[in-house]
């Protein structure tokens, strides 16, 4: 529960408002990136996104359509910006077959599990295999163990996550959408790993 608890904002490196929504062709300095979130229902996918995006907004500001699609721009130290367009997917088993419609053309896939739920970790591994088979070959993948604040109930050891991610060439991090731990780091790390257009 509770990505709604409001903690002080840690929005270092965030940009507000700035954007070339209208037609600006993405250039080497300003990337526009489709990111898809995969993972069992209830692991907190949408909470991670909200925690990441909400920082710059005051909480009463309008979420135009909903938390299933949100976008957020971050600035990196080399003065480039990355605009993430974040596509959430339904994690219930009966909708698993629909996922390819969503991850088609995605530059980034974030696979989320809940550290208190071994089933969700199994499900995460299923998604990684799916992406390796059907995703675009140069997709950047991250494995995320969420709900790290619930360490008393932990059932998936950190090492398992690290090992699995390493074997599959993924970036790994444990986060807590509730306390906001590692949320920004997750997205900043992804941004650094994106392939850059060669022109600059």
């Amino acid at each position: 529960m509770g990505c709604s608890s409001s903690l002080p904002d840690r929005n270092s490196g965030r940009l507000g408002g700035l954007n070339a929504e209208n037609g600006g062709a993405p250039d080497a300095k300003n990337l526009r990136v489709k990111l898809v979130l995969l993972g069992d229902s209830g692991v907190g996918k949408s909470c991670i996104v909200l925690r990441f995006v909400r920082g710059q907004f005051d909480p009463t500001s309008k979420v135009t359509v909903g938390a299933s699609f949100l976008s957020q721009t971050i600035a990196l130290q080399d003065s480039t910006t990355v605009k993430f367009e974040i596509w959430d997917t339904a994690g219930q088993e009966r909708y698993a077959a629909l996922a390819p419609l969503y991850y088609r053309g995605a530059a980034v896939a974030v696979v989320v599990y809940d550290i208190t739920s071994p089933e969700s970790f199994n499900k995460a591994q299923y998604w990684v295999k799916e992406l390796q088979k059907h995703g675009s070959p140069d997709i950047v993948m991250a494995l995320v163990g969420n709900k790290a604040d619930l360490h008393e109930n932990r059932e998936v050891p950190v090492q398992d996550g690290i090992d699995y991610a390493e074997k599959n060439g993924m970036f790994f991090i444990e986060t807590s959408a509730k306390t906001a731990d590692n949320i920004n780091q997750l997205f900043e790390e992804i941004a650094k790993r994106l392939p850059r257009p060669s022109s600059s």
Binding site: G23, S41, K62, T64, V65, E85, W87, Y95
Partner: protein, 463 residues
């Protein structure tokens, strides 16, 4: 603004108007010529969705580039150019609509299959079967979302159709958000959203859903199918995909239970529709008869009588085949029909075949009496025959003149405005097909502006 509504700017009627304004400038003559010849080029070829789509996409892209370089748009902002592109897309696709929408039999067949399947599944589906948590269930308010989706067939431009989908999604998301706040749940994400969208789609069952989605996919300018619009459109595609593959497993139902549900839904529907066939098909035939034969005599009425008697006779054994135990009575059918008409946004169109329905006493001339009497006789025969065919006693038609007059009067007051609006709209759309010279083009543009205002304002959801 980061998460601003991508549709807000181009939804405004002003942008459409602005496009038409510029096209009226003498310096736009070449554009007008190019647009017209592109549209005409379509009438020379048989439908081929892939080629047609590629041609439209390329034409729109090239024209947008030409706009950018043209003095008409000198010093204009990106937004103005963008809305010119939107205007062009709307104009071209409105013209090509009948030529490219559901233009191949395969698409129409899939439309029918999907419509039929949804018609069955919607009879027994429950929110839990799609993993919609009780806290997020709100069937009454979901009607609002269904309404938005059902508007999709009222529009011709790809963007306008897409906006119907986006508005439907918006309504769902607002409801989910409110429910999450009320119940102190986490804000809703795709886990909550997609199941509700599927449920709403099942309940709305918009005709030709498959063709509508393909049409948007093919003819919405690809460069504008990005971000939020692309995301929610993908959800709609995935809802369609889920629905067309629905089976016992995907609803976590027992195989036999699923089949039984489908079977009884089928029985219910075919029972109703075979009865309705009798009711609905005949009037169409009749209106053909009466327009063909200038002077319908009693004789032709009798031939109608016999044809209906046979169709009535056919009805009964057919109805017996059905699994349902109770044949719906005429008044059941009447009520069902009335409910269906109420739901339709263009219900008044259904009555256009009946010229006297909205007439006032003062409008009628002596010459109309014969016509009216013939209409009346036909109706009585039909009514009695249908009743006979269904095996129920014919309830008498209301006869009291003053009563019917009063009723008619009230109806006229209420509905004539509707009918007129519908007629005006219809004429306008017909006009779109026939333009040959530039002066015509200008007046055409004017008519279309007024036509386009109505639905567009409706489509904008206030922020």
């Amino acid at each position: 603004m980061e998460n601003a509504d991508p549709f807000a700017s181009s939804t405004a009627p002003l942008t459409w108007h602005d496009f038409l304004e510029r096209m009226r400038q003498p310096s736009a003559a070449d554009f007008v010529k190019a647009i017209k010849s592109f549209i005409v080029s379509f009438s020379n070829n048989a439908p081929d969705p892939e080629r047609d789509s590629a041609a439209v996409q390329e034409f729109l892209a090239n024209m947008e580039m030409a706009f950018r370089a043209h003095p008409l748009w000198a010093g204009c902002s990106e937004e103005e150019l963008e809305s010119a592109g939107e205007g062009l897309e709307k104009y071209v696709m409105t013209k090509l609509y009948t030529r490219v929408f559901a233009s191949v039999p395969d698409d129409s067949k899939l439309d029918e299959q999907l419509f039929e399947k949804i018609g069955l599944v919607q009879q027994f589906i429950r929110p839990e079967q799609l993993d919609i948590k009780t806290t997020f269930q709100n069937e009454t308010s979901w009607l609002l979302a269904q309404k938005e989706l059902q508007k999709i067939n009222m529009y011709k431009a790809p963007r306008d159709k897409l906006v119907c989908i986006l508005n439907c999604c918006k309504v769902i998301n607002n409801l989910l958000l409110n429910a999450s706040i009320a119940s102190n749940e986490d804000p809703p994400g795709a886990d909550e959203f997609l199941p509700v969208l599927i449920y709403v789609t099942l309940k709305a069952n918009p005709p030709q859903l498959h063709s509508n989605l393909l049409y948007i996919l093919r003819y919405r300018r690809q460069s504008r199918m990005v971000a939020e619009a692309a995301y929610f459109f993908t959800n709609m595609l995935s809802a369609e995909s889920f629905i067309s593959n629905i089976n016992a497993e995907s609803l976590s139902m027992d195989e036999r239970e699923f089949e039984m549900n489908m079977e009884s839904a089928r029985a219910l529907l075919s029972g109703l529709s075979s009865d309705l066939d009798g009711v609905l098909k005949e009037p169409q035939q009749k209106s053909l008869y009466s327009t063909k034969e200038k002077d319908p005599s009693i004789g032709s009425d009798l031939s109608l009588l016999s044809s209906e008697a046979t169709s009535g006779a056919k009805l009964e054994p057919h109805a017996k085949d059905q699994l349902i135990t109770k044949v719906p009575s005429i008044s059941d059918l009447e009520n069902k029909g009335a409910a269906m008409l109420l739901k339709e946004d263009q219900a008044s169109l259904a009555f256009r075949e009946y010229p006297y329905l909205y007439a006032n006493v003062g409008d009628l001339t002596v010459n109309d009496v014969e016509d009216l009497l013939n209409h009346y006789k036909q109706l009585v025969f039909k009514h009695v025959c249908l009743s006979k065919g269904l095996g129920v006693p014919a309830p008498p038609l209301p006869l009291s003149i003053s009563q019917t007059q009063a009723q008619k009067h009230a109806e006229t007051m209420k509905d004539s405005a509707d009918t007129r609006a519908a007629e005006v709209k219809d004429n306008t759309l017909n006009d779109i097909g026939s333009t040959n010279d530039v002066s015509n083009q200008v007046s055409l543009f004017e008519v279309e502006t007024s036509e386009s205002k109505l639905p567009q304002e409706e489509a904008v959801v206030p922020q």
